[in-house]
Symmetry: D2
Subunit: 378 residues, 4 copies
């Protein structure tokens, strides 16, 4: 078995999710590569050390430039805030490393384009962690669509609702709260949450042609944790947009952090000529499926408990009826990545795939600012 | 169009439900008989008069014996407490009237048998208001079973849960509370609620052979509204039983008025070799259906919104997607009764059908008392 | 008791729904007025006669102008297609009749304004049948909002999804299909379905300031039943729009007749600072309610089975746990109308209330055409 | 940090579930002990070796007696079929090892009693893997009950429904099918599935006093994989029983492998004076809670998404809204075990706790055989 030496940058929420995936994938999937947790990098030496001890990383770094240049690293995994993705990715590509990068790919489209150019020039395997594609129910949705079961698509609707920033006393910036700091995050719910919705949509339903959007920042000023001062909030707290897909279908997208009662309610629904699909992150192990070709009297939405051996990825886990959770989507994606490099085939979404999501986000933000429909770049 | 002159006995909850059915049936169904609300009878003259005025009954009576003997009455509808069913029904049969009787048929099996003998001897159309058979989703379940879709039946489970008698301060007896008075009701949840579950079960799954039951009276004494004294409570507050059907399937039945959170949660589920069915009174317009013959990957419980034109009775109401409610089950049952007399065919359940439910109730109560399995009379 | 003589125009789906309400309201509500079904009017004499016989209308008319001028009519109820609302309403107002009009009020805002001016000038009681306000769960939502339980509102989202016009073989025009004929309907889903969503939204959340919309007509040509020729389809099959309310909240609205699996799925959700509400026409007897002030560990969406005596209107029906259906919303609205005229207070929505919905529809259609945000007239 | 050397017996479904728990617990929980996967034991040398390689066990054994006697083993984990639990546990206890044993504890009560005596005599920490206690929603239920929120308990109902043995072509015995072989399994659904229901019930609701049960074996003969012959099936395919708890509450329990549409539907509901609880393994991350003390109009079943930081165990995983799955219950249980030995406190359920479940199972099987109520041993 070949080894794959991993250098992780970032030890926060995503650093844990990725590390868990690195460790679990070979226990449940048959892989040609054995991941080795060679190094983890972060700015706070003590915290990096503690993280390395817990997760079994062999060494620590506090400067990502050093990590990127180490000869004993095959894969650089970028799990730090958005504003650092570009520089790390470009440097890693130049150093000939494989790269897996947390989403969103970049702060915006132009940044993303440079990253795409870098990895494509270097010819290194690359992937962005839009993990929801690998929730078995979502992968099943993809299968059903690709098999033509839905027929012509008329409608797509997605939303991602949270409620964790409603309090005006919540500060912005710093550890755990960089998602509220526009300089670090690039945008608010658009890049953080809608990017997920858009990635899935592009995968399932093809290109988006144009959008009309609105955004809102309900709390205009918050204390900034790094400066200690009350500062203007630059991110979008909420964003909704209309979209037209290239295949002629109509879509609505919405995301907010001001929807009481919803912690991470990512849902999507697709209505086709023959069948419809609905999925919900709060019950991620189920897929709702309606098939109009069923006999009339017994036609109904089917609640598919996606835990059977013939469901995507599920044959690798437990027995029918026993659900898996959020973290497993990362395990699946990493297993697919390893199988991809073994087979010489890219695992989706690549940087280029993810760039398209970035372009949609850019068009959304531009539309919200201009109050006009915007064409999406391609 | 022929007229059918109705004489109603009782003006309580069921008097209203029946009267509403009498009035609505000809508006929505094509019937050969036009019901005429000729008379209503009750002990309190003022209340009877007010009821007659509201519902359009032409005349009033305060003695049911007079009502039963009136020449201008074709159908005697019995909607008064259980302890009066027998005498009224037997007198009405002797007078040659058609009879519709609120459930349960009688206080017990022997009483019920006499009623059956009376109506059969008189040769008069007769029916018991086990209305849940005519909820469209339940009728659809019957159709699916009769079509053989479930295959061999392995399991039946039913429950009817309420929570309205938990307070120890609730008195027993008198208007609105006669269901707690064993002398009037005959039994507690067994005759009031389980009788519904048993009726549906016999209809859908055939005869019950034997039962093992337990009952409980949580509040042993309550003030009696008629005597003003604290008296022993004679009814069962809760009852659960195991059963074996003649077709080899196993069953559990349970009912209680001590299930917090459930107002009238009547549910049943049937598991067959090929398919299963679930229904719930709290969402009575839906039928849950699972068919194992569906393709594996997209197999799931189907939530059938039973509001389409090809669903039982629904073509007579509104448009697909618009639900009907509780009261419509009575309308359907009365329409079926009228169509039955037009066609010379009995509408189910007849007194004889309902007698079988009475025998199961008797066996249940006997089993609970003896702590032994009991064979059901036939 | 006073009588109220009703003259109904139209004997289709809505003619039945209204007639049922006229008959049932006095059976279940305590009213000072007794409705009398004096006359029904329609173009086809034989059909009108049959309808009158079934529902008990005393007389028939085939020319609405005659009906409007009859001295023995107090209330003109308009239940015919949209293109006739204006003329009938204005004539009825001039004749001093009370008027209840099926929704949408008119073909467009300017038409609606003339109707408002007519009824206000005549000083006659008037109401539009936006019946969903009177579904008990929706009325309960209104109560909770008015009591301030939600706090500041951040988001409103509504949709109304159907799937009955997907087939390209479905013709347009004529009985049962006039909703596809733009000359009769005025618009497609915007006036038919979104009008309901907008009416509820204005009631619950106040004025809408501006909108950005898109519409689509998936099937461009259909056979016209009246001409027998294939003609261009002028209605919108689908419409989605973004909206800003005057209270600062953001909204998404969507409607379509191309959503497989949904027969009449009208849903709305409101997210406030403290609490959220969700409702769904397919389970209209439930209200989902989330209150953030609940203790953290046991916080969750509450599924309120709106069938208790302390829920709006429900004390008049059966007992807790027993659901009512679609038709009851009309009964409630008519009971409120009668109580309103007894008390000298208008029952909502009046023509003027409904005009505001018309203005939103106009802005939506204009925005879809212009691809620009549009201000809503007031 | 101290190390804890683990010797695992069995490498099937449960061997994987336990190994995953050993590996994950220290990554997510702060523990004083570091588990070391020292040895795994199984009869098939090649398979054991492959298992060891995948999961990182340092050594292999093919004779459990050798494993039990090794000095470098601190904890013997029993994850092999039921018929071997007793001998391994008693030998391990004699060797002074800590023991964790897969459920059910033993083939029957008398066997279990010997195991309890052995571990108590040896004074070694011991625990049985009734993992569902550690599903966060179930642990939350325990907290709510212990806090007295439900008040006096009236009803308990549990069921565990599967559908995987309906085919008569399914053989019995051997790898993967020993659960159908009565000599290895001891019983059918009673020991396999109802044992889980009973364990939870005893934990949440106290002792069961007496039971009345029925069992059924739908397929009387199946080919035996080890003998190659068609042999009588000795296990119970289905079992249902009534029970009386010592606290006065009434219960129904049911389990079957013949319930079409249910893969692993373990549900329980508890009705108390003030509140009720419902849980469902198919959506294990939710707890349904109804509190009658909520204000009447907004009272409803709360669907608690048990993923918040203040929910049991959940602060250790991801962020609110992101669900965990089946496997995590084992991780929690093992973390609790390690914390227990660090603190010198047993982690539940101990062998003695689990013995009580065994006694209930014995009474159930005896009642089914005798058709009489049976007292549960204590």
């Amino acid at each position: 078995m070949k080894t794959l030496n991993i250098g992780l940058v970032g030890y926060g929420f995503m650093g844990r999710a990725h590390s868990n995936a690195f460790r679990k994938a070979p226990k449940f999937f048959d892989l040609e590569y054995q991941p080795v947790l060679r190094a983890v990098c972060g700015r706070d030496a003590a915290k990096v050390k503690a993280f390395a001890a817990r997760w079994g990383y062999e060494t620590c770094e506090t400067d990502w430039r050093k990590l990127v240049e180490r000869d004993d690293i095959d894969l650089v995994d970028i799990a730090c805030p958005n504003d650092m993705h570009r520089d790390i990715a470009i440097a890693a590509a130049r150093a000939g490393k494989m790269i897996t990068c947390e989403k969103p790919l970049a702060m915006n489209g132009p940044e993303g384009l440079k990253m795409v150019q870098a990895v494509e020039k270097a010819g290194v395997p690359n992937m962005v962690w839009y993990n929801y594609r690998r929730v078995p129910a979502v992968t099943l949705a993809k299968q059903l669509i690709d098999e033509g079961r839905l027929g012509k698509i008329f409608h797509y609707r997605a939303k991602f609702l949270q409620d964790w920033t409603i309090s005006k006393d919540l500060p912005q910036g710093g550890a755990g709260l960089w998602r509220l700091d526009v300089k670090v995050a690039g945008s608010g719910v658009t890049g953080d949450l809608l990017a997920h919705c858009i990635d899935t949509a592009l995968w399932l339903n093809g290109r988006i042609d144009r959008v009309s959007a609105m955004t809102e920042t309900f709390i205009k000023q918050r204390k900034h944790n790094l400066t200690g001062k009350v500062e203007k909030v630059g991110i979008d707290d909420a964003c909704a947009f209309l979209a037209r897909f290239e295949n002629g279908s109509l879509a609505t997208f919405e995301s907010t952090r001001y929807a009481r009662g919803h912690k991470a309610l990512y849902t999507f629904e697709i209505n086709g000529e023959h069948a419809s699909i609905f999925w919900d992150l709060h019950d991620l192990h189920r897929l709702q499926y309606f098939d109009h070709r069923d006999e009339g009297r017994v036609r109904g939405w089917r609640s598919i408990h996606v835990t059977d051996g013939d469901h995507p990825y599920m044959g690798k886990w437990w027995v029918p009826g026993l659900q898996i959770g959020y973290e497993h989507s990362f395990v699946h994606q990493f297993a697919d990545f390893l199988q991809g490099i073994a087979a010489g085939k890219p695992a989706s979404p690549t940087f280029r795939d993810a760039l398209q999501t970035q372009y949609v986000c850019d068009a959304v933000l531009k539309s919200a600012k201009s109050s006009r429909w915007q064409k999406v770049a391609a």
